[in-house]
């Protein structure tokens, strides 16, 4: 008898589903739940994914979460940061990043909060690879705290490029732009609307559409909302015993 799925495990399965059609590309999940999701996808629906140990080693078989590929698993290649940049530019990569702020067109901010760019109210980590990722290959987002603070009408600094800017600059920023899905602790959202604005694709079991709308700082298209699927027993077994036996997923959300 399998214990019922936790919210974290439902989110893991939703993250895993974003990799199904990725094919043989470098998977770059940032953060604990996206990492478990990508590893679950590799073991189930997306076996061709190319995954690292979190640092510079490509792993045919992954060590448990948090371990270096030098200590366990099977190494199949070398992917130091200099090669990552080459892969980004080639397009053979897909990322799932975080977002401190995200707006209705999927513009993402991880740089700074506040409109005074030279003296921000809160300095964050910096744009990292978000500008390059979003104009080169498929990008999805994971937001563990779906709230009006994260889902804002307009982000303070565009790190990752959204659909409005990509469409307005179709031959430059838009050429390889492909921002698709946002998975949160409440719901799965996408941009499958005529103007590329955000749509509520599914709510997690037990979450109402109204709760998602209340936690979102802009209107959402709610014309076709499903319920997020539950992970299968086999997926739960893989998450619990193979990928994340130490239970890191439960520290990110409950």
């Amino acid at each position: 008898m399998t214990e019922p799925a936790t919210l974290a495990e439902i989110c893991v399965a939703a993250c895993a589903d974003t990799w199904i059609d990725a094919g043989e590309v470098l998977a770059a999940p940032i953060g604990v739940l996206p990492t478990i999701g990508a590893r679950l996808a590799k073991l189930t629906s997306a076996p061709d994914l190319v995954l690292t140990d979190g640092e510079a080693l490509l792993m045919a078989q992954l060590p448990p979460l948090g371990s270096s590929g030098l200590t366990a698993g099977v190494i199949e290649g070398w992917m130091p940061y200099r090669r990552v940049f080459d892969v980004v530019a080639s397009g053979r990569r897909r990322v799932m990043m975080g977002a401190s702020q995200i707006d209705r067109y999927g513009n993402q901010n991880i740089s700074r909060i506040g409109k005074d760019w030279q003296r921000p109210r809160a300095q964050l980590i910096g744009v990292r690879g978000a500008p390059g990722n979003t104009v080169n290959h498929t990008t999805n987002y994971w937001v563990p705290n779906h709230s009006p603070r994260a889902f804002v009408e307009s982000v303070d600094f565009v790190s990752g490029v959204g659909h409005d800017r990509a469409r307005a600059d179709r031959h430059r920023a838009g050429r390889f732009h492909d921002v698709r899905v946002v998975v949160t602790n409440l719901a799965v959202l996408d941009f499958a609307t005529p103007d590329g604005s955000m749509r509520l694709r599914s709510v997690h079991p037990g979450i109402t559409v109204d709760a998602v709308l209340a936690a979102t700082g802009f209107p959402l298209d709610t014309s076709a909302v499903a319920e997020t699927r539950m992970p299968s027993d086999e997926e739960l077994r893989l998450i619990r015993t193979v990928i994340d036996p130490a239970g890191q997923r439960d520290r990110e959300i409950r």
Partner: protein, 282 residues
């Protein structure tokens, strides 16, 4: 050379490139020596970690050219945050790939390096000096990253010979060779200086990352990357990094931290770190 001798080559207003990545294999002993000088108004180019935080806290930085500042296992560096939120440090924030493109343009004496990263983002809006360039072969238009020319590069490796042939033994070289090639003067600190003939005793030739052609001076500095990681010799000192972060949140505790760890030379630093580790263990 000693870390102090390298620090003495660094002058007010210079542009300094610092190797490593986040809280990984940073040339910390040279950074610490720099904290003890009266140098100011530096421009630093870095995939930033505690190197940036420490230099900000000591008031050494005028400007930072960066893609992120992070301590890896701890997402943000509080010293960097304070410097930015008080308006003390100016920034040119680039995408990570753009930073490398700028180093390569400088290393190859090119006027710019083309890259798609930056298009459509506020990296372009916030850096009005950045220009786009039209392809001479078609209608594609991309970002032209200008050279990030460095007056001085500092990096930390696992080993080197006395001539500056530098070797990394961990999984990732980061961009330490590119920093050295983009600089007028490059200084390599290392865990140990070995005879040239011994460099490949237990390592493949591909581990020889940096050629003496690009190196001005070599410093033997065991634990010179502490508290950042330097595999395979040592991992990140997580409990010390936590102590650094906790101390940075409070002025009185920072005075203690600076007096204990940053006032003396490397021998004093290592003794203080050892005492901290024994205290933390007991």
């Amino acid at each position: 050379m000693t870390p102090e001798q390298v620090a003495a080559r660094i002058e007010d207003g210079m542009t300094i490139g610092i190797g490593g990545w986040g809280s990984r294999r940073k040339p910390m002993s040279i950074v610490r020596a720099l904290l003890r000088t009266d140098v100011k108004d530096l421009t630093v180019v870095s995939y930033g970690g505690p190197d940036v935080g420490l230099l900000c806290r000591a008031g050494k930085l005028r400007k930072l050219v960066y893609g992120f500042v992070s301590l890896d296992s701890i997402s943000l560096d509080p010293n960097f945050r304070q410097a930015r939120e008080s308006g003390a440090v100016e920034v040119a924030e680039y995408d990570e790939g753009m930073l490398l493109a700028g180093l390569q343009a400088a290393a190859q004496r090119l006027p710019f390096m083309p890259i798609r990263a930056g298009l459509g983002s506020d990296v372009l809006t916030s850096n009005p000096h950045l220009r786009l360039v039209q392809s001479p072969y078609g209608d594609d238009e991309v970002v032209a990253v200008p050279p990030l020319h460095l007056d001085v590069a500092i990096v930390h490796l696992n080993a080197a010979d006395e001539f500056g042939n530098g070797q990394y033994l961990g999984p990732d070289p980061y961009f330490d060779d590119r920093y050295c090639m983009a600089a007028d003067q490059a200084y390599v600190s290392c865990e140990r200086i070995v005879d040239t003939a011994d460099l490949l005793k237990d390592a493949p030739v591909q581990s020889l990352l940096i050629s003496r052609m690009y190196v001005t001076g070599v410093v033997e500095s065991p634990y010179g990357a502490h508290f950042t990681s330097c595999p395979p010799e040592y991992g990140r000192d997580e409990s010390f990094q936590r102590h650094y972060v906790d101390s940075a949140q409070d002025p009185a505790r920072w005075r203690d931290f600076a007096a204990t760890f940053l006032a003396g030379d490397e021998a004093a630093y290592r003794a203080a770190v050892e005492a901290f580790a024994n205290g933390a263990a007991s």
